[in-house]
Symmetry: C2
Subunit: 808 residues, 2 copies
């Protein structure tokens, strides 16, 4: 029998052979009875919340069932996910009560199952939070409720997933798996903040969530707030049982105890309100105990933070059975449980009975307002309700600026972009002790950024050497955690930097895209303030991963950023250390972008003074006169990226030495976006400026750090592209020498010089080149042969290959 | 004090506050003494292996220290990672002994920490496995050893990371985190195979590994083999302690017990050989017990598979201290522990003492051969040694073909590509009951592929409804697991399919790239046979994710495949169900590619008969006469992708109705690679064929499913691109109607018709268009307005918008 025909709802997990004694590890609790009024209030809030949720999925009219339900009351397209919603309503009711009962508590909610938007919106309306941000549209009134229910999931209304239009939301939850890491990022350096994070049991199967449970090991209770993870186990995904739904309590307790948590399991539906509120109380108490110890200077070793496993039936309170299929407690409740409600009288009747069962009209909602029974569980202070905490919508704290120019280095010297940047960032960290963090997958030292550690340290609580001593740096070998932490930290108003080996940043490709989607919408939400940009530094690039080899060579993250909306996408390839400083300074103070900065950790020539670098970075691209022949060129060589720009300069020198009649212009592009067609990107060069740099009709040879196709795609609609050609990384590599990497990918000085000569000869204006072409090419070929032989016999590059060419 | 200056090597983990009773969950074992000869043999193998490993990192000559070490003996560039190697040598010695002692055992090793290549290569040389595959070069002889040591990590020799040139390897391990899922994929449908999988404690921090521990829940012991995971805890990453290195035994035991394992901890260095071999014996026994029960028809409920935690010091047996820094047991041993050995006499002396300490020359290696003491732990049968199992290098079993044409559907009908494909795949599964699998992140039902489940089912062992009853389908909400399973399954000779929501396939972007790097090298390794391609089906695309909204709209995986080497990259966008059938059939029988197939799950028109579809797919692109006006066109409209092709056809019909004088050609491209510049891809159209389809000079308007920039990059070097323009997904979306998604992204029939008219007018040859342009545009504008108003008022698309246009 296929699993699609599971005959019983939410069957109990198979028993494991683990000893019962494991259950002693769980937090066994005595049930605390809530005051009767609060319990009644919770139930009322839940009934109202579930009613509105279901109504949002189904109704286009008659929203409070003032008359018998008709097919014309049903939306033409039924969209939304019911299954996860009742649990989310339950949790929202309890979080509000917890806030009411703890007047000093500052708490927000991060919802992993973002498809539970109807539940979030329904409870936000009950709270009055929708009315605050959408006055006139979603007021606490009959018309507000009508709008909420009828406009949900139709064009122009709230979408079917939580997004930046949802008050209180700092996480979209469309691509599952990231809620937990985002929550931990949000509480870092927010000592008073608690994030209640709902993790669905589908989401819990993802790798990013599986490792994010370790995040407590990076949370210093002295300086940061806390997360209450609520693993919401309802047993099913779209059409299959979940891993966690099939784990029994012994397995769950062992697992989360192993991660380092204290675990409470809340699962008895007849006592769910007593047990859930009691467990939240307990969690808050444990958090306070751990924080107090750390803040008193006696930090607990390996503090066991609290977490809650909440088991409720999927689609709880919904229809039990439809057309012989079990709905409540089964995967059939995942999306729309009555898909034919608009066409089938039987389903319409079930819907009416279901909606009526909540007994909302005139009991819980009167004159378009929830009754006092419903609202009594809410905090009096509206700004403390789940949707209204300022940190979720106007959080931005600009960094204190540090002048970067004093950290500039001498033109003509050789410097590692990363070492120089590390020293500058050290100063920025000192000036911003609680508003800037760095997240990295264990590569700070390897990436030569370790000067950052001169006045701060790594924050890792499971290691006695950094435990409870703060630290601006988190290094964990999970790019997903780094990204999630950065998102949570940024979305709550601070600034973060994520340096990484170039090849491994693609691991968070889709997370970055999801984040940028959230921010794209947020930019257009009038009540949301700006955010810092998220800042990636890519180094240990393919051009200098010759030692680690092919698996460490992958510049594809550029392409990921290029596909974003132009308003968000920023890609910089600063050619030297001073340009890198200027760029990193600019990025840290920019807003709402995804900034990708690519540089070298190896010492490379400094071409520009700090002042010249500032000008170059402002322009985004310039002609480099020192490496060009004067006057109108025969050919334009363009370097984009550190090593390939050096090869461009070396190619120019080589051409000037073997073929002095060829007029060569060298251009460097530091801001990739200037090349995009005019009007397609805010940074795009005007047509005039573009032609000024690249001429109207001369061959232009790009020597590009990334994949050629993406640069070709950028240049496509520019003027006269038939004269242009692009070299770049073409997936050729191994453990070899740095210069051999240039040769293998066709971006060496020799490749470029050869192409320049051929292009100039083909263009046909320079007679000397046409006549002497074979001889010039022969000279180049000879030099390539010599270099290859040297590399193969000596196992290293010729010593003089990185000498800066002398120009007149 | 920064963590970089940890004063003691491998400090014990901080104690947790967990009760000691947890340790009772671990498998407590009585130490079994190995026979003295075997123990001596293991030590000898380990000493020889560690010696060769270290020599590979350092020596360019004098490889057996026949004379005092000189600086000229040292390689000019010291590359390699020592830290992980001694543990890998230790494990390799034990796996060989286990093979020797169990003559029926078929076992391979998957090494997560791929930077431990020297250890793998050293032990493969000792086994004679290198000699088998590289006769003459790496023989078991003095010259073979000389070559191994001196050529490692220099251009032309073995690279610093395990790759496809490494015998026995089916996993590169460059991008950490995937070894475990790959191992589980390898044993599926391989009932006799055991994979010993080494997971480094750095790697263990990644999300993909964190969730891959759950993979036992998808392993049916009746039909599949088993994995022995060995978590190798040496405490440090590049420059920081690891999470797992800081977890004490109670935490580790609780965690892995929770995952469902029986855990043995092997950590006492003075008894390491007895304990490790004893634990491997135990693991094998447990595996047999679990498998026997299942195969006898009495499967154990939630079988607790064995796993081993192996704690050894990082850089074990290496130098203890250099220049005041502790090396053995600290992160300082991660890479090259004596970086100045070639220039500093002190370091040279330490190196000589270190290498000499293994006492290899004339004791363990005599006349270029390991002594019998070293080789006695190896299986007699060389083909059973770790590097030589056939399944690792000539595994490919071609699928039994099923004719797809009988599954073809009627031209003119409306069909879901996925439903039709599901029925075909059902038949293919029936014909190939043990050589084809499908891995999916819980979306088979949602993606309308559920006919696949007609004769098989989901394989999920933690659920009583599928436990130990086989099943070709694994659905787990971890794209990383799906990808890892597919890799392991494919690398051991079978064929796999990975269907997914389009937007979430990017989650495994870098895994796919890593895999294709492995396969790229494997193709050039003469002793490796072919492999099946890996096959992705993308559906629920952005064009039909209008209900889930913006977070579910992301076609970026196309770009990931485009960046691969042309030999590997295949991207198909079949326009209808028959084309999809032809494509999926072709892909399943292709070799060594990455196949990406993109289609719709919604019913869409069938334009071609099965025979016509076969022709169209073979050509990759054709003119669709039925939707074109006869003769030489004024403008060419090109559809690439299901929904945008329909809009292209609709645009042609619209143009023919409002402006009959405009001659329109409609082209469909089903194989994206035909557009790549001639000679750049095996599928690229010749210049002649390209111009035949797209004309020499007429405006060509592409309506493309993916991001415009990537198609522009493909077209860049084609003829006369200034006349071309590309529309595609531009990151505009929400929960809305399907047609509104077309409008928002500028790919609707109206957008296309408007562009066609403007382009034809600008080109100036058709006088009627020039004169009538404003009128025609006005008509289009009016239609757009009507449609928008309908959508906004009705909350759905006009019913006739998906009617197939009638052409003459």
């Amino acid at each position: 029998m296929p699993a699609t025909e599971i005959p019983i709802p939410n069957p109990p997990p198979l028993p494991s052979h683990l000893p019962d004694s494991i259950l002693d590890l769980a937090i066994i609790f005595e049930r605390k009875e809530l005051p009767a009024g609060d319990r009644k209030g919770l139930r009322a809030f839940q009934r109202a919340g579930c009613y509105i949720t279901a109504a949002m999925i189904f109704l286009r009219d008659n929203v409070l069932l003032s008359s018998p339900l008709k097919t014309s009351d049903i939306k033409p397209r039924l969209l939304g996910h019911w299954g996860t919603c009742p649990g989310l309503v339950l949790i929202a009711s309890h979080l509000n009560l917890l806030l009411r009962n703890n007047p000093s508590l500052k708490m927000i909610e991060v919802i992993g199952p973002g498809h539970g938007a109807p539940a979030a919106l329904a409870t936000l309306w009950l709270e009055g939070s929708l009315a605050k941000f959408y006055p006139g549209e979603y007021d606490v009134s009959s018309s507000g409720l009508y709008n909420l229910i009828t406009r949900f999931s139709v064009p122009g209304g709230f979408p079917s997933h939580i997004n930046a239009e949802t008050p209180g939301a700092i996480h979209e939850g469309g691509e599952l798996g990231y809620a937990l890491a985002v929550s931990f990022g949000a509480v870092m350096d927010n000592p008073d903040l608690v994030v209640a994070c709902v993790v669905g049991d589908g989401e819990a199967e993802t790798g990013p969530t599986a490792t994010a449970w370790h995040a407590i090991k990076y949370l210093d209770p002295g300086e940061s707030g806390a997360v209450i993870p609520i693993l919401h186990v309802n047993g099913f995904k779209i059409s299959e049982r979940t891993i966690f739904g099939c784990m029994d309590n012994k397995e769950l307790v062992a697992l989360f105890t192993g991660y380092g948590y204290q675990v409470r399991i809340v699962e008895e539906m007849e006592h769910i309100d007593n047990d859930l509120q009691g467990s939240l109380d307990w969690a808050l108490g444990e958090i306070k105990r751990i924080q107090k110890a750390a803040r008193d200077g006696n930090p607990i070793i390996k503090p066991r933070w609290p977490m809650i496993v909440l088991r409720t039936p999927k689609g709880w309170t919904g229809p039990k059975e439809v057309d012989g299929k079990l709905i409540e407690g089964s995967f059939h409740s995942h999306q729309v449980p009555l898909p034919k409600a608009g066409t089938d009288d039987g389903q319409l009747k079930i819907l009416e009975d279901w909606l009526s069962s909540y007994q909302v009209k005139d009991r819980l909602i009167v004159d378009g307002k929830p009754t006092e029974t419903v609202t009594r569980i809410l905090p009096q202070d509206e700004e403390r309700r789940l949707g209204q905490l300022e940190t979720t919508y106007v959080p931005y704290k600009e960094l204190k600026a540090v002048d970067w120019k004093p950290f500039g280095v001498d033109k003509g010297s050789e410097q590692s972009c990363m070492q120089v940047t590390g020293k500058f960032l050290d100063a920025v960290f000192q000036s911003n002790p609680t508003a800037l963090r760095l997240f990295s997958p264990d590569e700070l030292e390897s990436n030569k950024l370790s000067a950052i550690l001169d006045h701060t340290s790594r924050n890792f609580q499971w290691d006695e050497y950094s435990r409870a001593k703060g630290g601006r740096v988190i290094e964990t070998l999970s790019e997903h955690d780094c990204q999630g932490f950065m998102q949570g930290y940024t979305l709550t108003g601070r600034t973060a930097i994520f340096p990484s080996y170039e090849s491994f940043l693609g691991i968070v490709h889709t997370m970055m895209v999801q984040y940028s989607k959230f921010v794209k919408i947020a930019r257009d939400v009038p009540w949301r303030g700006p955010l810092a940009s998220i800042n990636y530094i890519e180094t240990s690039t393919w051009a200098r991963q010759e030692h680690n080899g092919f698996s460490h060579q992958n510049p594809s993250f550029i392409g990921a950023v290029l596909n974003l909306k132009p308003e968000a996408a920023r890609v910089y390839l600063p050619p030297d250390a001073n340009c890198f400083l200027s760029t990193v300074h600019h990025c840290m103070h920019s807003r709402n972008y995804v900034n990708l900065m690519i540089g070298s950790k190896q010492p490379t020539p400094v071409y520009l003074t700090p002042e010249e670098a500032a000008d170059h970075c402002r322009d985004g691209a310039s002609i480099w006169d020192f490496a060009s022949t004067p006057g109108s060129p025969d050919v334009v060589l363009v370097g984009i990226g550190v090593e390939v720009t050096f090869e461009t300069i070396a190619a120019s020198a080589l051409l000037q030495s073997i073929c002095p009649s060829l007029k060569v212009r060298v251009v460097n592009v530091t801001d990739l976006m200037v090349l995009v067609s005019e009007s397609r990107h805010p940074h795009a060069l005007s047509k005039e400026k573009f032609l000024e740099l690249f001429t109207e009709d001369k061959p232009v040879l790009f020597n590009y750090h990334g994949y050629p196709t993406e640069l070709q795609g950028i240049l496509f609609a520019r003027e006269n592209v038939a004269r242009m050609s692009v070299a770049g990384y073409i997936e050729e590599g191994s453990t070899t020498t740095p210069f051999d990497m240039m040769l293998r990918n066709g971006v060496s000085r020799f490749d470029l010089a050869e192409k320049a000569l051929k292009a100039a000869a083909a263009e046909g204006k320079n007679e000397d080149i046409k006549q002497g072409l074979d001889g010039y090419l022969g000279e180049i070929k000879k030099k390539v042969k010599e270099v290859r032989e040297f590399i193969n016999s000596e196992g290293k590059d010729p010593d003089d290959i990185y000498d800066m060419p002398k120009f007149n």
